[in-house]
């Protein structure tokens, strides 16, 4: 007896190959690993609501060229008298191309004395970083800095 040989038709083969390729393309993790400028705008809207964000009063400091994106020093200063009547309520930091647009939110008040905070952040790509501050009168002010990153964070395997 001859062994039965199953011959795969060209059509079956193409259907199967197409299915495998589609499976790779639809991997949700791969699609979700980079935020976009739109995602950043949405994250900013979620914080400021319908208020207008103006440039000025905020000074965001980051090194212009970053060798290692795993720890980048960031400092934000806001030009504010920090009195009970006029103070900074919050400072939010957003990035354009990290996996998530939000970086950090600082909540301070008149007891801070000076609106000046510093931390270290991760940067996944060459991109711009935005700091937005909320004043006690309800206005929002921003500053943005473009950073060149040579070694990105979040990419290494462990």
């Amino acid at each position: 007896m001859r062994p039965s040989i199953r011959i795969i038709s060209r059509r079956d083969f193409l259907c199967a190959a197409g299915g495998i390729a589609a499976g790779f393309a639809l991997d949700p993790a791969a699609a979700a690993e980079s935020a976009t400028a739109t995602a950043m705008q949405e994250a900013i809207r979620a914080v400021v609501g319908s208020a207008q964000v103006r440039k000025g009063r905020v000074t965001l400091e980051l090194p212009p060229l970053v060798d290692n994106g795993n720890a980048v020093s960031l400092s934000v200063r806001v030009d504010s008298p920090m009195t009970q009547a006029d103070h900074v309520k919050a400072i939010h930091v957003f990035t354009e191309k990290n996996p998530q647009p939000n970086v950090v939110a600082f909540h301070l008040g008149p007891r801070a004395g000076r609106a000046s905070v510093a931390t270290r952040i991760r940067l996944a790509d060459t991109q711009s970083v935005i700091a937005i501050c909320e004043l006690s009168d309800g206005t929002f002010w921003s500053d943005s800095v473009s950073v060149v990153v040579t070694l990105a964070a979040c990419l290494e395997e462990i």
């Binding site: 990035t95 998530q100 950090v104 909540h107 301070l108 931390t119 270290r120 964070a153 462990i158």
Partner: protein
């Protein structure tokens, strides 16, 4: 347990603006990294940092995965009275570290 380093001047004049620097030991695993077998390493980060001065909250920060490992935070406050400045970090998987320092205000 994970340690925290805190730098606060031991004494200050009343009304002086003092700088507080904190560093806490934590890997801040983003949840975006993969092992060599392709499995995602689950997220494990500190979510919140709160600083209180004699029981009153003076500073709070909310962290996202983009904060570097071993979070460093520097901020300022007005030295109003002698007492305790307390720090609390809370995060994923029940992480909580509390520290406090004494300050004398003349």
């Amino acid at each position: 347990m994970a340690g925290a380093l805190i730098n606060v001047p031991a004494s200050a004049r009343r009304g002086e603006i003092i700088e507080i620097k904190t560093l806490v030991s934590h890997p801040m695993e983003t949840g975006y990294r993969r092992t060599q077998y392709g499995t995602v390493v689950p997220r494990d980060i500190i979510r919140q940092f709160v600083c209180t001065y004699n029981g009153e909250q003076i500073f709070r920060a909310e962290f996202h995965p983009a904060i570097a490992a071993n979070p460093f935070i520097a901020f300022t406050t007005v030295a109003t009275e002698s007492g305790t400045i307390a720090f609390l970090w809370t995060g994923d998987n029940g992480y909580a570290v509390a520290e406090s320092v004494k300050i004398s205000v003349a």
